[in-house]
């Protein structure tokens, strides 16, 4: 009797464990381990294989070549560079070019994309359809084709230097070799002014936030708007007079030999890449923004209109702040795409970090380390971009208590 009782109790007996092959926790752990080993085994194999192959083919993996003279020219560099400098310097010059085009590109694509999205949502039929055509055109044509179109079919077809389009007294000059603008340039004493502008902006921002906070806490009128505006304008004004009142000289493009010199110049290669990238990415951004706006409950819009807010007030106070929460995550990937796509630059003669690297691979033959550098560079750019935007995203998300 006692025996049967204990047999009946068995399933409920906590001390006796289930066999391990039926224990879900053990099985799970085994499955985890097997997949982990498979993944790492694959990675391990790839790495071993790589080093073996590199070894067998005599590929050199060192980074000593970074100091060797690069030997090749770079068409436009925003840092000091000449071919006698090391390859590391050339890489940096390429990186600055990449940053230039993707930094400005991201801003421009966001603005253009938002405008197109608003146009698509507008009640104006023509505007709506135009925006639709824009989006479909740019989303369905490969970027490289667009770049070729802009560079070879548009920018290369501008008049040559002798027949330049000149507006005003050399104010704006447009030819096949670029757009040249008359541009103010800081004089030597101008640095004082430049510093004073920076100081002014920072001081004004600090004053604005601190005084506003004081007002929010104490409710006392602190005139934060007026005071910070005065700082913003006043400090640079002092700097202007300290610098002798001549912070700028006017830089007029003039023809010297074959080309125009001085002034602010935008090369056709930069312009082709910039416009191609911006137009293309804006097509995607427009859809992201539209989706975000449409995801805001319609009742919000109706309520805002019922209260009597104007169109722009509705947009800026009610719709966009809510839409932003939905927009930011997909927007991050658009920004990353733009940055990565900028590596197509080498097809239209703009020398970004990838273009420079490919030249170096050819000259110095160090394919492996150079490709590693390129990958790490793009990876870091992407990670930094998403980190910043993710932090911003966290700030604007709804705080749930």
């Amino acid at each position: 009797m006692a025996e049967t009782l204990s047999a009946d109790n068995q399933p409920h007996d906590q001390t006796r464990s289930i066999p391990f092959y039926r224990d879900e926790r053990v099985l799970r752990n085994i499955a985890q381990a097997v997949s982990a080993i498979a993944v790492f085994g694959l990675v391990y194999f790839a790495i071993i294989n790589f080093f073996r192959a590199a070894d067998a083919r005599g590929l050199s993996l060192g980074f000593g070549f970074l100091d060797e003279a690069a030997g090749f020219p770079i068409s436009e560099s925003h840092i000091e560079y000449d071919p006698s400098m090391g390859f590391g310097r050339a890489f940096l010059a390429g990186l600055v070019n990449t940053l230039m085009v993707s930094g400005t590109g991201v801003i421009a694509a966001t603005i253009l994309g938002t405008i197109v999205a608003l146009a698509r949502l507008s009640s104006n039929w023509i505007l709506q359809k135009l925006a639709l055509v824009y989006v479909e055109f740019h989303r369905n044509i490969p970027l490289l084709v667009l770049l070729y179109l802009w560079y070879f079919a548009v920018f290369q077809q501008f008049p040559n230097v002798r027949d330049s389009i000149i507006i005003g007294d050399n104010l704006i000059i447009l030819n096949q070799r670029g757009l040249y603008l008359t541009w103010p340039r800081l004089t030597e004493t101008g640095n004082i002014f430049a510093i004073s502008v920076m100081v002014g902006v920072i001081a004004a921002l600090i004053a604005f936030y601190r005084l506003r906070k004081t007002r929010e806490i104490s409710g006392k009128e602190t005139y934060y708007g007026r005071i910070s505006l005065m700082i913003l304008l006043g400090v640079p004004l002092i700097g202007w007079f300290l610098g002798g009142g001549s912070a700028f000289s006017v830089d007029v493009p003039t023809i010297v030999g074959f080309n125009y010199q001085d002034g602010l110049r935008v090369t056709p290669e930069f312009a082709g890449l910039f416009i191609g990238l911006v137009m293309y990415t804006a097509g995607f951004i427009a859809e992201v923004v539209r989706a975000g706006i449409q995801a805001v409950d319609r009742g919000q819009l109706e309520a805002a209109q019922a209260v009597g807010l104007s169109y722009f007030q509705v947009l800026s106070l009610i719709i966009l702040p809510q839409a932003l929460r939905i927009i930011i995550p997909p927007m991050i990937s658009q920004y990353l795409n733009l940055t990565k796509n900028s590596s197509l630059a080498l097809f239209i003669g703009f020398q970004d970090v990838f273009g420079v690297s490919k030249i170096a691979i050819n000259n110095a033959g160090r394919a492996v380390p150079v490709f590693a550098m390129v990958m790490v560079t793009y990876l870091s750019l992407s990670l930094i971009t998403s980190l910043i935007l993710n932090l911003y995203n966290r700030r604007i998300q709804l705080v749930t208590r």
Binding site: D55, L346, G355
Partner: protein, 367 residues
């Protein structure tokens, strides 16, 4: 808790493995890269044997993979039927005819200038015949350079209406150039040495370089003179452009093979020597069969009728070189067919005459 711990342990294990792989890998390369290249001995893995034995690979595949180009008339381009033709292409066909008995047994891989080196380093191609300049660093890094196939030098092409008359007028000019070439380096050396400034416009694709030049984006374009002649022949108005007489560099254009297989290196060199010797000895595509019964002992040796020119050791047959000549003709025939007076290029042979005619083309005897 325990699961987290478990995953953590696995991670650590994996990282150690990766770390170990990296360190051993690095150590090996530091010692071995230069020493072991040519001996091609490999103790650790069988899969490496394939890279070491290109000749066997070609024979097994029944096809020669030839790195080439399709965008340079005369040297490597496509004819109206889409067939690869050109001075560099004919060498690939000659090698295929010698090794495989069929000049059509070639797979042509079009490469940009910047892709040439890596394709050779990774042994993606068996033979790179794509007007590559032989330099010491490329020889060390890329592969083995066989024997100069075309002696060239870098020159400049200008538009006649640019106002440039000689290289003295170059200061401040814009120059279109192909990226990843010796051209690019020579260009900046030239301007630097002469204390002049220039602005480079750099493309990877040859077509883009000359397209931009023809459109007027640049005042000057620069490359090997043979290439400039070839490109100009394809311009809409070739007479509007002048190639300046200045030559600023030595450009020995040389086919190359990947590192690691001495026999394969020898085979390609031998084919080149045979084509040059054939010209010297008056053996042509048309008369190669009847020359097999010639009374000139050097011809008999070249065509494998007498003695052994090395074929037994290389694992080829006696008729291999004769087949190469029968497939594409001798050096002079290849030159005339692709670059001679009957072609749009009309390149004088100059340095590429036989040594007996005052040129540099000279090959060791085949015997």
């Amino acid at each position: 808790m325990s699961r987290k711990y478990f995953v953590f342990v696995i991670l650590i294990m994996a990282l150690t493995l990766v770390g170990a792989a990296c360190t051993t890998g690095n150590g090996d390369t530091a010692e071995d890269t230069t020493a072991e290249d040519t001996t091609s001995e490999d103790t650790s893995g069988e899969d490496m044997a394939v890279d070491g034995d290109i000749l066997a690979r070609v024979l097994e595949r029944g096809k020669l993979v030839c790195g080439s180009r399709t965008d340079l008339a005369g040297f490597g381009s496509l004819d109206a039927d889409g067939r690869n033709v050109g001075f560099d292409i004919d060498l690939c066909r000659a090698v295929a005819a010698a090794v495989l008995g069929d000049p059509e047994a070639v797979e042509f891989v079009p490469l940009t200038a910047a892709d040439r080196g890596p394709s050779l380093q990774t042994a993606e191609v068996d033979l790179l015949s794509r007007n590559v300049t032989w330099t010491s660093s490329r020889d060390a890094q890329w592969g083995n350079f066989t024997s100069v196939w075309f002696y060239d030098g870098q020159g400049f092409m200008i538009a006649n209406d640019s106002g440039i008359e000689s290289t003295a007028d170059f200061d401040g000019a814009t120059v279109c150039v192909t990226s990843g070439t010796t051209t690019e380096q020579n260009l900046s050396d030239f301007f630097r040495q002469n204390g002049m400034e220039f602005e480079a416009v750099i493309f990877e694709e040859t077509a883009a370089v000359y397209g931009a030049f023809e459109d007027g984006r640049c005042d000057i374009t620069t490359s090997d003179r043979s290439q400039l002649v070839s490109v100009r022949s394809g311009f809409e108005n070739p007479d509007d452009y002048t190639i300046l007489p200045d030559i600023i560099s030595k450009e020995p254009l040389t086919p190359a093979v990947p590192h690691g297989d001495d026999a394969w290196f020898d085979v390609v060199k031998l084919v080149i020597y045979a084509l040059v010797n054939a010209e010297e000895l008056g053996v042509t595509q048309a008369n190669v069969e009847e020359m097999k019964s010639s009374d000139n002992i050097n011809i008999l040796r070249l065509l494998g009728q007498e003695g052994d020119w090395g074929y037994t050791d290389l694992g080829l047959d006696a008729d291999a070189l004769a087949r190469a000549i029968a497939a594409v003709g001798n050096y002079s025939e290849i030159y005339l067919r692709n670059l001679g007076p009957d072609t749009p290029l009309n390149l004088p042979r100059g340095l590429n005459e036989l040594w007996t005619n005052g040129g540099l083309i000279y090959a060791p005897p085949v015997k």
